[in-house]
Symmetry: C2
């Protein structure tokens, strides 16, 4: 059993989810890639396993509910997901960090270290959540 396999297994147990090939494969994929992934990305990168598209959709939804993955703001296009920090749970997500999308390699990355900038809410408005997406060139593509 590889390292990623056992980490993934632990994560499933921790959240009371059954160990299934699709769930393990999806988790391992997220651990290997360190970027946000769309349903389509996952389908392509697990082609040989031939999981049903619906199963992958359901896996993503389940993981989001449990606090294993969070949705990442990818304007235009499909929903993307990324691994949550340990703070997240079934009850609440705590993924208030900046995200970065590279215009060259298209990767979307969580900048866990960059907190969301403080926001001057206009008077009368009550801000509950915020999301901040930067776009440009990632370290790799910037050269």
């Amino acid at each position: 059993m590889t390292h990623l396999e056992s980490t993934s297994l632990d994560l499933l147990k921790l959240h009371g989810l059954r160990k299934t090939p699709c769930r393990l494969a999806v988790l391992e994929l997220f651990f290997r890639e360190r970027a946000a992934l769309s349903h389509q990305n996952i389908e392509q990168q697990t082609q040989n396993s031939n999981f049903d598209r619906v199963t992958i959709y359901r896996t993503l939804t389940t993981f989001e509910e449990k606090g294993i993955l969070h949705r990442v703001p990818d304007l235009e296009g499909q929903a993307k997901y990324a691994l949550c920090s340990e703070k997240c749970s079934e009850h609440a997500h705590h993924d208030a960090h900046v995200h970065f999308k590279c215009q060259t390699c298209e990767k979307v990355l969580c900048m866990e270290d960059i907190p969301l900038p403080e926001t001057a809410a206009p008077k009368g408005y009550q801000v509950k959540t915020a999301s901040f997406l930067l776009e440009g060139l990632c370290a790799e593509c910037n050269g």
Copy 2:
């Protein structure tokens, strides 16, 4: 000719676009509502005119290209559009402001007065554009 009609007409002329019922209706709708609108919103709010869905899609695309409308980051769900400031043109958009989505009335608003917060780009990364979406209760719904 109402005020909105003539404003809309001017805008079409200014961008070298022909005056058509669909384009006028869509522009007037944007001037009346002051919120971002999706294709679906527009289709519903112009039902009696019975414009073809495809025509509405093309109208939105054209307006975006010309710098009349800009896309608004609405995570999940369909693309939304809002009126651009006068600075925008065929050649470049200049809509770097904060957007606000009300969790109650679902309206998405341009906060033209709130500029984007300065962003500490992580080293190695080159930031080119950014988008900041606040969510919560709008002034109306906050009561």
